[in-house]
């Protein structure tokens, strides 16, 4: 089914494009040094970095993938926000940003060099660079595919065109350009999704109609009646819920390991906090982001739940999720098909603009993080140490071009998983899961050494790979989904396998780092000032109002998150 866009839809898309590039041109004047290009000159107020912190992660994987998971797993998908992201965001703001921002490191790998040593930084920088390229490629691929199936646009054209578009605005305005577009995209997503949820809920007969239909979905899939509408009630054992995970694997794997690993150590998001104009603003960045973040399930997960509910029992419209050739539901089409269903010409243009903006800024976020890590942590560290600032600014611009081209390459590789989220979780599990153990020990245990961190990270990543190689999610064939070392354990779902891969990686890294650290010589305390908790003077909060104090805001956010979990228990 191909949708014909009308001139009004193209008009809205064109207005968006003009504004995006216009902002880039307006910012061009303010880019004079590499610091301006990579760190926005550390000059951005907290509410902007906060929204950018949130939106940098709000790319293809979020809007399409979360709705897909909402349709696949129901209300339990909210765990990605209410167990995963939000507590981790509070932790990074209250406890970790002081070290990132205070150490004046220009990137997360650079912090690792200050705290540990060169090889730990190198390992992190290279693996991060590869990961960002992949994430960026995945969002390009998703967009190309979507536009092709929906609008009949050639996906090669979509991929190359969006690459060129993002390239243009990052080259013009650097990180500031990316951050500004992330804020713009935040507002666009809200503007495009509220009417979608409104119309969907109206069609399904409100919350009552939705729960009644989802009960039918639950029971016809062999689960208890509330399995799609309750977040916790069916988490007792893995076979009671559609996600196929029990509460322990979820809380430890997703909550503690994967989410903390992502939100606390991923330079893509941390970079936004580093661009803030003061320590207090940097610490509030993730906390400000956490407030809209906890409400996002209602914008991105709810549409997926509505989509599956209407598929089992239609409402006043004839909406149903489309199926793939093999007869399974095409969950990734939940959002786009709902837009096509409910939005008339005009609104459809707005919805499409919101989706495109989120694809673009997801890609831009990755590319800005990539060019910084490449320039400071790979090029300056290993290739040319003594260039002047102008030279590194140029290298950064070249790295941007390279990053985009490599993403396009990755986009062509990214075709084998049916749910984008699962693939990202797999990548994160290998690379990010051990990372959080390294940072935790690095920031809170002054005895941790560089050799310890390096061997810990390496063995954590290897442990992840081995675990993945030895296990298999139910019904999957041996290969990219696991089992390539011989499947000795079966998990009920891919999700469960990913969470447990993360748990194994984290634990291995934690234990190995401690053992090797105790056997090797630590850095003297004088070199660790500002990098480790016990050797850093406490942040003075004098003269700040209560809402500027990270501790108080953090507690407030956690209280709200507990309430949300209780409501949807």
């Amino acid at each position: 089914m191909l949708i014909q866009l009308s001139w009004i839809d193209f008009l809205l898309l064109a207005i968006y494009a003009v504004f995006t590039l216009g902002v880039g041109f307006a910012l061009k004047r303010s880019i004079n040094s590499s610091d301006d290009f990579f760190l926005s000159g550390r000059s951005i107020p907290a509410w902007i970095t906060g929204l950018a912190f949130l939106s940098a992660n709000l790319g293809a994987q979020e809007v399409i993938g979360m709705a897909a998971s909402g349709a696949k797993y129901g209300m339990m998908t909210s765990h990605f926000y209410w167990v995963g992201a939000v507590p981790a965001m509070v932790f990074v703001g209250v406890f970790m940003i002081p070290f990132y921002y205070g150490s004046k490191a220009r990137s997360v790998p650079e912090y690792l060099k200050m705290r540990f040593d060169e090889k730990t930084r190198g390992l992190n920088a290279v693996s991060f660079a590869v990961m960002t390229i992949f994430s960026s490629g995945i969002s390009m691929y998703a967009m190309g595919l979507l536009l092709e199936s929906l609008l009949g646009w050639n996906h090669h054209f979509s991929i190359w065109f969006s690459g060129a578009f993002v390239l243009a605005y990052i080259l013009l305005g650097g990180l500031t350009s990316a951050i500004y577009n992330e804020v713009l995209q935040f507002f666009l997503i809200v503007a495009g999704f509220i009417p979608l949820v409104f119309l969907g809920l109206r069609d399904v007969g409100g919350w009552a109609g939705l729960t009644a239909r989802l009960e039918k979905v639950s029971t016809s899939n062999g689960y208890g009646p509330g399995a799609y509408t309750k977040a916790w009630a069916y988490m007792g054992s893995a076979d009671q819920n559609p996600m196929g995970v029990e509460w322990f694997g979820l809380v430890m794997g997703l909550g503690f390991v994967l989410s903390f690993g992502y939100w606390c150590t991923d330079f893509l998001v941390v970079q936004r906090a580093m661009a803030a104009n003061s320590m207090s603003a940097a610490r509030r960045t993730p906390l400000i982001a956490a407030v809209p973040k906890m409400l996002f399930p209602f914008l991105v997960i709810l549409p997926g739940m509505i989509a599956i509910a209407l598929t089992y029992q239609s409402g006043s419209s004839s909406f149903a999720l489309p199926k793939k050739l093999d007869g399974t539901f095409n969950y990734d089409l939940a959002i786009p098909m709902m837009m096509v269903q409910y939005f008339p010409s005009g609104m459809l243009g707005l919805g499409l603009t919101a989706l495109l903006a989120s694809f673009m800024s997801g890609m831009a976020g990755n590319v800005t993080a990539f060019n910084t890590v490449w320039t400071y942590d790979i090029y300056q560290a290993y290739i040319k140490k003594d260039g002047d600032d102008k030279h590194y600014l140029n290298v950064g611009r070249q790295a941007t071009v390279f990053g985009i081209v490599a993403s396009v390459g990755a986009a062509y590789l990214a075709a084998s998983f049916n749910n984008i989220m699962d693939m990202l979780q797999l990548v994160f599990a290998f690379v990010n899961a051990p990372l959080f153990a390294t940072f935790m020990l690095g920031m809170f245990w002054k005895r941790a050494t560089g050799h310890g961190a390096f061997t810990g990270l390496l063995s954590g990543t290897i442990a992840a790979a081995i675990h993945h190689g030895l296990t298999l999610p139910g019904h999957a064939v041996v290969g990219i989904k696991g089992g390539w070392l011989g499947a000795i354990k079966m998990y009920p779902s891919e999700m469960a396998q990913n969470f447990w891969t993360a748990i194994w990686a984290w634990s291995t890294c934690f234990v190995v780092t401690i053992i090797v650290s105790l056997l090797t010589k630590p850095k003297p305390g004088s070199e660790l000032k500002g990098l480790v908790y016990s050797l850093t003077p406490k942040q003075s909060e004098e003269g700040l109002s209560w809402y500027q104090k990270p501790g108080i805001v953090g507690i407030g956010v956690l209280v709200l998150i507990v309430i949300l979990n209780l409501i949807f228990l």
Binding site: Y180, F187, Q341, F343, G346
Partner: protein
């Protein structure tokens, strides 16, 4: 920082709102069958227009202060 981000976003939302609401007033009502009989272009266009002005107002006020 060169300029307040609320200004371009506010302006863009105001333009989006104007375009959508105008289209909503002039378009054939039968296209609103898909949006369950509600003229979403007109209604949501008006909301966007107002949000755009709110953003512009705060952006300008912040600019005037500094």
């Amino acid at each position: 920082m060169e300029f307040d981000i609320r200004l371009p976003i506010g302006l863009m939302f105001a333009i989006f709102g104007t375009v959508l609401a105008t289209y909503g007033l002039l378009s054939d009502p039968s296209i609103y069958q898909r949006s369950l009989g509600i003229n979403m272009n007109l209604n949501w266009g008006a909301v966007l227009l107002i949000s755009g002005f709110v953003l512009l107002y705060f952006g300008r006020r912040a600019g005037a202060k500094s």
